[in-house]
Symmetry: C2
Amino acid sequence: MDSYRAFQQEFDLSMEALCRRILDRHQTTIRVRKAETAVANLGRIIDTTLTLANRKGFHSTSLRDLSEQSGLSMGALYSYFDSKDTLLLMILGQVVDAIQQVLTTPDVTTGGVENRLRALIARHVYLTERMGPWFVFAFMEAKAFSKQGRDMAIESELWTEGQLRDVIADGIAAGAFRPQDPTMAAALIKPMLQDWYVKRGKYRRRGVDPDGFVAALVQAVGAMLGSSPQPA
Amino acid sequence: MDSYRAFQQEFDLSMEALCRRILDRHQTTIRVRKAETAVANLGRIIDTTLTLANRKGFHSTSLRDLSEQSGLSMGALYSYFDSKDTLLLMILGQVVDAIQQVLTTPDVTTGGVENRLRALIARHVYLTERMGPWFVFAFMEAKAFSKQGRDMAIESELWTEGQLRDVIADGIAAGAFRPQDPTMAAALIKPMLQDWYVKRGKYRRRGVDPDGFVAALVQAVGAMLGSSPQPA
DNA sequence: AGATATATAGCGAGCGCTCGCTCGTTTTTT
DNA sequence: AAAAAACGAGCGAGCGCTCGCTATATATCT
């Protein structure tokens, strides 16, 4: 898994696949019984929500706008969620779910520290590239979440940072990285990863693609941690 | 200027001083004539706005909440701004103003590249520490700004990144830093600087103070740019 | 100095409007 | 024809904002 193309073939993160998981997780609230119909309409709802919310904020997006743009009536929308807040939690929940799915696989947890670190960085960039609007949504609306949502976001954030910290700590113990505080190092790397989706437009304007960003980031992080040069 | 204490003595960024500048910039909209009264009440209004907006978002903060918490009536509020959007632009404008004030002084623009880079990093951290809630507000509400506000935010963002890029480019030319793309390097450093105020709580919980963060960041950035060790 | 007049600051009920959400009805599917 | 899904007018609550009014500070006149 060493390019964005390979990543896309390994993980199915299509709107359909994502909505199928959301349907699984919210079977009790979603009142539409036919899975095929439910997945299709969930896709339209969430696609529209992400577009409108990322343009002017979730709170400023009215359900009438959402109804009009998605082509479903007000009543139909309420067959898929029981409150606007639930819609928000559906999207956030799927973001957390996808993170777990992508960052918990052998490539990331085994092998040399250099490769584990590279895999962690690459997968994070590729995942946030593939699900860009979802991550922007989660990041921007985080403050407005209900307590349940905020706790979920913080936990997920700390989990990802913990993965980084563990790899760095292992690397220091193995003598691959210069001795330093692994928690602080992880804390500094995390925002660089987030920048890829928070400021996506800036990188697009400069012609930087996902693989280019991964290369630059791996290089920078390597230098920062004082890693010995990669074996040719 | 080599500590947060020294920074606070060099720059007056008290609520009173900031509001006095806001009053200057919005003389035409603010209908209260006595400067003393206006500055005092602007302080109450903005302090309350930052508190409420950073808790639940600016859009979700009603002017009735603001009125109740600040102790001014609805009518009195409208003597200080002519629309809720103007209130938002007042705060954003002062953030941009303060950035210019702090990052455009001899320390930052003269001397060796190592020192210029250190000064730039330190001042950014100290400024965002001193005006924490203002910066969090600007960052979180940026997407909801009117076009005027968004353009201001983007311009200010790019200006700061440009300052970083220039120092790095000078350093590469002088042989102090390893040859690399200064634009990409600056793009990766910026989010680390922003993390200080966006995730302020995380660092507080871990007992990291402004000077500690500056030290860690200068160290990390130095390694990342491949700077030669500092002269003792 | 005291009385009067004028300007300034603050007040808060109420306006028009949009919001999230409901529910009786209609359309589509089985 | 029964069940499932979609419809959309309408409800009450809460929004940004206004405006006729009161209270207080300042200026002017005897």
